[in-house]
């Protein structure tokens, strides 16, 4: 067995498959850090996938498609923010509704768009010089689109903002104890709106990646449950943007390997592997280490009403 082919194949596929997960998870981390659970990730991703495809196909450039995907994701997220922050509706119900609504609306709008390849897909970039390095080149710098590198950069930037700036303190305090943040003069509603909207933008781009780059075509229901993996990865990463990188790409590697290893291991078992892993992580985070539980935002899932305790 040629170990370099396994290494190169697994890492490069882990990156390519992990990109939408990374973008989605980064967004959900920000929403949840501000105290708002958004189970509508799947819905925002599929709307982003539809909008990305339709606009890139119409205007003939993938950039416009991704921009549209981001915009549509933001709009969908703002709806969730309006319901949960302004109207203080139950976050879980509103998020589930958003997922169902997104899947339905994208399916309806997508009628007639299926069966055609995208005329302007986002291609892979071969990074000059680096892509010619043996092993490392094909592994990291040949089969990736710009969104892989942007996603990595974004994770670092979002980590810095969250843990090293005043904005980050504001976001975390709103998620931890909105009453305290409010008494310090931070607008809880504004912070939550912004974070949820950012979550929508990133989930939208993640969805757009699927229809514009990963597999440049539109078909109904093409996100196929990725939004739910994002929710699990958000917990797995302990609401930390840097850990989200490992989570997304580790899951990507497991997913790819579940097909590669079929020649040696029972496919039914492999099919379970990534999800069994997700359950294990959730169980571990629920049981054991206090550190993990302590990292969950204190006011997660709780609508804020001034003066109530």
């Amino acid at each position: 067995m040629d170990w370099t082919s396994w290494l190169v194949g697994t890492v490069s596929r882990a990156l390519a498959f992990g990109v939408p997960l990374l973008w989605g998870t980064l967004g959900e981390i920000y929403a949840e850090r501000s105290g708002v659970v958004n189970l509508g990730v799947e819905g925002m991703m599929i709307l982003g996938a539809y909008a990305g495809f339709a606009v890139a196909q119409t205007l003939g450039h993938p950039g416009w498609g991704l921009l549209a995907a981001a915009g549509v994701g933001a709009l969908a997220a703002l709806w969730h923010a309006f319901l949960t922050v302004t109207l203080r509706a139950n976050q879980y119900v509103s998020g589930l509704a958003l997922t169902l609504f997104g899947l339905g609306l994208a399916g309806l709008l997508g009628r007639g768009w299926e069966g055609r390849p995208l005329r302007a897909p986002l291609g892979a970039v071969a990074v000059p010089v680096l892509s010619d390095v043996p092993v490392l080149g094909p592994m990291l710098f040949r089969d990736q689109t710009i969104l892989t590198y942007l996603g990595l950069l974004l994770a670092v930037v979002l980590w810095v903002v969250l843990f090293r700036t005043r904005w980050g303190i504001a976001i975390r305090s709103v998620g931890e104890s909105p009453a305290t943040a409010d008494s310090l003069g931070i607008s809880v509603a504004r912070v939550r709106y912004l974070c949820v909207a950012l979550g929508g933008v990133l989930a939208g781009v993640g969805g757009g990646y699927l229809s514009v780059a990963y597999r440049p075509a539109w078909t109904e229901g093409m996100t196929a449950g990725m939004g739910w993996i994002v929710i699990a990865l958000t917990i797995f990463s302990a609401w930390d943007p840097l850990q989200a990188i490992w989570g997304a790409f580790f899951f990507g590697a497991l997913y790819h390997l579940s097909f590669r290893l079929q020649a040696y291991v029972s496919p039914e078992l492999l099919k379970m592997m990534p999800y069994a892993f997700a359950i294990l992580v959730l169980a571990a985070s629920g049981f054991g280490r206090a550190r993990w539980r302590a990292r969950a935002p204190g006011a997660l899932g709780v609508p804020y009403v001034r003066g109530e305790r």
Binding site: R215, A217, G221, M222, A224, M226, Y255, Q262, P267
Partner: protein, 381 residues
């Protein structure tokens, strides 16, 4: 006054009988969304074709119906006045049968199953002949001798298709192998993509599949590998790399079935033995990745250039062999079958004795893997 009453009654009677014999409201129950560009999409294209063809026919459909809930949706269609109901997934079988007993005056037809009733027929457009033809071409085009195959579920239908495909491959390239990966979903583009990538990493250079999206065709084309389309026209997804494929024409079956109800041939009393098992000869299946184009013109020269020494036909190009076999299938009195014995499975067991063909029963319950298939085969005898 009495004359008028009789006249009105007679008119009403004619009206009722006439309408009863002529008007058909057909309801279709789909398992997936009509935008899947696979199985459900193909049924819906067929529904629209027959709907537009007859003015005595009205159609309605319900999509994405969970398999366990089919009876509820049948109730709904009956309430809406449907007198013919098609259910288009294997998992709808028992629910459809139960509904057929509850509604003896409604005609039912169930796709891909085997249970029937006086008012319930079965129908299926099957592809194993076309898969075999694709296999002939795949065997001629592979350079590494490894052909990749992405399958949805390890069920008899796919096992039959992959084995027929592999028998075709081996007829022109006796040492080539067909490498199989399962995705355990009818529709999941990401899974299909990663399964294809895994096969590419293992050295496969020609691809075929059975799942409901054009993913395999697109991924193979990115790496400049030829592939075979499945179910819907996929030529546009990779005009330089799609060689051929399978296309379905459910409208041929729907047209025949509905017309016979309209003419009074089929009633709620005589369907217990009506089973459509339609293949190339009946026009329910077509060879190609685009309607009317059996082989992509770009691949005609390589296929004509690949000449084999055939035990039956002597020296013959694969291009000619494909059309020779095609004509044998298309002939009303089909003169060849891919599973013509002697056929051994990959464990060396004789499955079809020399000179024999497989029965319909053994085709639809087939679990073994033809020699040349590599990879997991859950349920292998």
């Amino acid at each position: 006054m009495r004359k008028l009453a009789i006249f009105v009654m007679a008119l009403a009677l004619v009206g009722v009988l006439g309408l009863g014999a002529q008007r058909i409201k057909a309801g279709f129950i789909y398992v997936g969304p009509i935008g899947d560009y696979g199985w459900t999409h193909a049924h819906d294209v067929a529904r629209r074709i027959v709907d537009g063809k007859y003015d005595w026919l009205e159609t309605v459909y319900i999509e994405s119906v969970p398999e366990g809930e089919v009876e509820t949706y049948i109730d709904q269609l009956v309430r809406q006045g449907c007198n013919v109901i098609f259910t288009t997934s294997f998992g709808f079988m028992d629910g459809t049968l139960a509904a057929a007993e509850r509604y003896p005056n409604v005609i039912f037809a169930h796709a891909s199953g085997f249970k029937r009733a006086p008012n319930m027929a079965t129908y299926m457009a099957d592809f194993y002949q076309v898969y075999y033809l694709n296999g002939l071409m795949a065997g001629a085009l592979t350079k590494t001798g490894k052909i990749g195959y992405v399958g949805a579920f390890p069920i008899p239908e796919l096992k039959r298709h992959i084995s027929a495909f592999t028998i075709g491959v081996r007829e022109v390239n006796p040492t080539a192998t067909v490498h199989v990966r399962w995705i355990y979903e009818w529709y999941n583009p990401a899974a299909a993509k990663e399964a294809t990538e895994a096969l590419i990493a293992e050295g496969c250079d020609v691809f075929a599949f059975t799942e409901d999206s054009p993913t395999v065709v697109q991924v193979a084309a990115e790496r400049k590998f030829p592939s075979f389309a499945h179910y819907s026209p996929m030529y546009a997804f990779a005009p330089d790399y799609v060689v051929s494929g399978q296309l379905v024409h459910w409208e041929e079956i729907y047209d025949d079935f509905l017309l016979k109800i309209h003419q009074g041939v089929y009633t709620t009393k005589n369907l217990a033995h009506v089973d459509y098992w339609w293949l190339l000869a009946q026009g329910a299946a077509e060879l190609g990745a685009e309607m009317g184009m059996p082989i992509n013109p770009k691949y005609v020269a390589p296929l004509k250039g690949y000449v084999v020494n055939h035990p039956q036909f002597g020296r013959i190009s694969v291009y000619d062999l494909v059309f020779l076999r095609y004509n044998q299938f298309a002939d009303p009195g089909i003169t060849f079958d891919p599973f013509e014995g002697p056929i051994y499975d990959r464990k060396g067991v004789l499955r079809v004795p020399a000179g024999m063909w497989m029965s319909y029963e053994s085709l639809i319950t087939m679990e073994w893997a033809a020699a040349g298939i590599v990879g997991p085969w859950p349920g292998e005898p």
